[in-house]
Amino acid sequence: MTDAAIAMTGRDHPAAFGASTFDDVLRSEWVKLRSVRSTFWALAVTVVLGVALGAVISAAAAHGYAKFSVSEKQSWDPTGVSQAGFVIAQLAIAVLGVLCISSEYSTGMIRTSLIAVPKRGRILAAKAIVFAVVSFVVGEFTSFAAFFVGQALISGHAPHAALGDPGVARALVGAALYAAALAVLSVATGGLLRRPAAAITCMVAVLLVLPVIAQALPDSWRNPVTEFWPTQAGSQITNVYHSAHTLQPWTGFGVMCLFVAIVYVIAWTLLDRRDA
């Protein structure tokens, strides 16, 4: 074993090397993400849940359409209905995003990572970018697939949407943008809390539990929460129909992005200051 030369072949030490770049760190994080099994499973769950749940909800809603009241028919949003599975599917993205940094803490890998890349902000940024891009692609695939499957099930029973209808393309691209913003939020939360269980619990609370609790509050409390709660506001970009007490699609998405940016900056600051 020791017969092998320790030095790199064909390279003069130490003059030949350049500084490590952000590109290098991005490449490294991409390999990290694709080389663990949980990535594949979480993304598969996102697609399957998003499309299958969307299909079930679309079919059920379309069959009930005939018995809808006038106001219910007015607010009928076939695009939004076909995307309904995403409310649950997004959890898989949130969990994976949290794990892509907190699993490094739970395994000890973070020490190895930070020795390799001591400029810690780069690690967080590279993780966020790589996972946001992956989530955007998977989110886009899921939203289009759910849309076409959903509309096929709706048509014949209720008015359905077409890709060219006003707002539809924006909603479908919006779903992918929402997934990307959620990806950054989960990575930042994972980096902030470090413990997988704590960070996952926190994400579930933000995405599902608190919005549900808000529904039980009196109107004067509920309306501002539905309007401004970051993930609720952000999800407006995935709807075509604009309901009361919600922000406009891009405004809502802006609110979510602002929230994500704040959490990210806190995570970045702490990562830089804390002992690893």
Partner: protein, 319 residues
């Protein structure tokens, strides 16, 4: 070259590292020695930028670790063989580290061959034994072909063959002019590997010396004597200024039973060499059955040196 100036690390009210200054030179294996909890790992973590010093500074090649443009190409480190994501294959683990410092993928296969893990390159790291984990950690340290290498207890969990391999590797790395810092809590291990020693206890520097110097200065010589007139000889030796204590089984020559405790007729004399003891015995007509010069082992010298600073000590274990 690794240089520390007045390094201090406090965790709350605990002082892990206390005013540590040293310079670790290239071309030598420097052993970083101290009992468990002495602050070795904390010091290494500060060198590698994982922990920020409370006071003082430490530099590698004149720069603080976080300012190194391509850290893995300048410093290779093995802190903890378990600092690996178990779900990742060995080759992917090394590949993501290599890419982060712009090291080509071909180098990954090279280091896998070097540490003898090429056969398990496609296996996930969670199935690795501690020894294989150490080899993977050493592989990652070698990835960037660095001029400075830092290893925290690298022989932990290795079999004798692996231990021999690590020792040879350290010596080769140093012979190539690299700076090699190796921590251990075993003096005997360091005596075989290191050229220079940095001994710490309770976070403080106890010794910064060459191994040879350490051996010379801290060896305690004593003379083991068995004689039917041991008590008389003991009295004569004390008169001559030597220290005498009753011999115990640990130092006794073969033949003593393990449960003998203090053997009658055996004494241990320090402060006189065997020739002097022999002459003294002859002058007083004392019969000697055994007269053996005893050299304290390095391990004992080390324990002597760090006795004051051992963090966790078993209370009064008698044999």
């Amino acid at each position: 070259m690794i240089e520390a100036h007045g390094l201090v690390k406090r965790y709350g009210s605990t002082v892990a590292v206390n005013d540590l200054s040293f310079a670790i030179r290239p071309g030598l294996v420097t052993g970083f020695l101290g009992p468990n909890g002495a602050g070795k790992t904390t010091t290494m973590r500060m060198i590698l930028g994982l922990d920020a010093p409370t006071q003082g500074s430490v530099t590698v090649g004149g720069r603080s670790y976080r300012d190194l443009p391509a850290p893995m190409r300048e410093v290779g480190a093995l802190l903890d063989a378990k600092a690996v994501h178990g779900g990742r294959r060995a080759r992917d683990h090394l590949l993501c580290l290599a890419l982060s410092n712009g090291i080509p993928g071909s180098r990954v296969d090279e280091v896998l061959r070097m540490v003898g893990l090429e056969g398990v390159a496609r296996r996930r790291a969670k199935g690795f034994s501690l020894g294989m984990g150490q080899r993977l950690g050493i592989a990652s340290a070698l990835l960037g072909d660095p001029a400075v290498l830092i290893f925290d207890e690298p022989v932990n969990g290795l079999d004798p063959d692996g231990i021999h391999w690590v020792r040879t590797l350290m010596r080769e790395l140093a012979a190539e002019g690299r700076t090699v810092l190796v921590s251990s809590h075993l003096m005997s291990e360091m005596a075989l590997t290191a050229d220079h020693l940095l001994v710490i206890g309770k976070g403080r520097l106890i010794a910064d010396t060459s191994v040879d110097e350490f051996v010379r200065s801290s060896s305690r010589q004593s003379v083991h004597v068995r004689s039917p007139q041991a008590a008389e000889l003991a009295a004569r030796c004390r008169e001559a200024g030597a220290t005498v204590r009753a011999g115990d089984t640990s130092r006794a020559a073969a033949g003593a039973g393990p449960d003998a405790g203090t053997i009658p007729n055996v004494i241990e004399i320090t402060g006189m060499d065997s020739a002097e003891v022999g002459k003294l015995a002859a002058a007083h007509g004392i019969t000697l059955f055994e007269l053996i010069p005893v050299q304290a082992s390095l391990e004992e010298a080390f324990m002597e040196l760090t006795r004051e600073s051992v963090e966790y000590q078993a209370a009064g274990v008698t044999r």
